[in-house]
Amino acid sequence: MNNVVTKMLLVLTVIGAVSGGILAGVFHVADPLIQANREKELKEAIFVVLPEAKDYKVMEKEVDKEKLAIYKGIDAEEKLVGIAFIADGGGFQGNIRIMVGLGIDYLKLKGIKILEQNETPGLGNRIKEPAFEGQFKGLEIKPKVEYIKYRKPEKPNQIQAITGATISSDAVVKNVNNAVSRVLKAFPQEEVLK
């Protein structure tokens, strides 16, 4: 009886150890590649929302026990061209993740890019089309971003919602507003510009 228990323990331990070893090896090779992929993706997104930027610097802070990060976009002469940050929030179905670019005037958006979304194909997922994303270029964030329906925007802080996809359009606007207000609070203009 004892013999069986020992064998069980031994076999499982060996299998576990060998598996762990193999995994560690694979991880060692794959992890740098995975990190590089993430980095590349982030970089591309930042450069889309801050077109003048050639490089970026991360600035992190802890607000209410939550880590908040912004990416300071800098051009070839090391001059600050704007800041970028992630806006996360619920959409019609699932999460919408947006990269938001804000000018150094802290008034106008430089652009947004939808990084992740699960909206209805052909309807809500049109938020990632340039026609919709492009509306955020030069959009004023004060007092806050708004959307209107069926008409061309009239005020500098308005965008036109996608017909038939009000909820998704609304979610994007809400996420952007939330993220902007959090960033404005946590990273005052003076502090970033300096």
Partner: protein
Amino acid sequence: MADKQNLWHEFKKGLWQDIPPFRLVLGTCPTLAVTNSVINGVAMGLATLFVLLTSNITVSLLRKIVPGQVRIAAYVVIIALYVTVADMFLAAMFPPISKALGPYVPLIVVNCIILGRAEAFAQKNPLMPSIMDALGMGIGFTMSLAVMGVIRELFGFGSIMDIKLLGDWFEPWIVMILPGGAFIVFGFLVALVNYLSRKKAETICH
């Protein structure tokens, strides 16, 4: 000679007679979840094929060593190992596919086909039949996912492998890329496979 025929049989059964999602109704979760395009379906099928093959090999080789009482625990560890390897490989080499498949690659761990083949076949059979079994089942599974993907992508996007086949006159059937479309296509395919095999059985009988 008989041996060779046997091996051929082990391979062939996964392609039609016991084709996993349609006849065994195993592995339906990925079959429904990731087949909204051909590429996703095939990638998922190949990832599963890899895990199936490696786990069948390992289980078959260890079949005389692992005590019966802890075999499930051992198989799960082995399967989880290969799944994690596959997941990391996809994330490192094909990030877009990895992103599209999302949590379904890690979920191969709980795919009934893998544990099912380990338990029902590999632990009782030598290496070669286990390999053939895994290859047959894996290719059958990949084929099924590809067929689902072809139908859903064609109707849902008007394209196959991102190549536009149907012109602008075609208004895509959005439902096909939604979960509802997956269930509809799956139901029809199960019915079709049943119908065809019944027909085949009838012609043999008569």
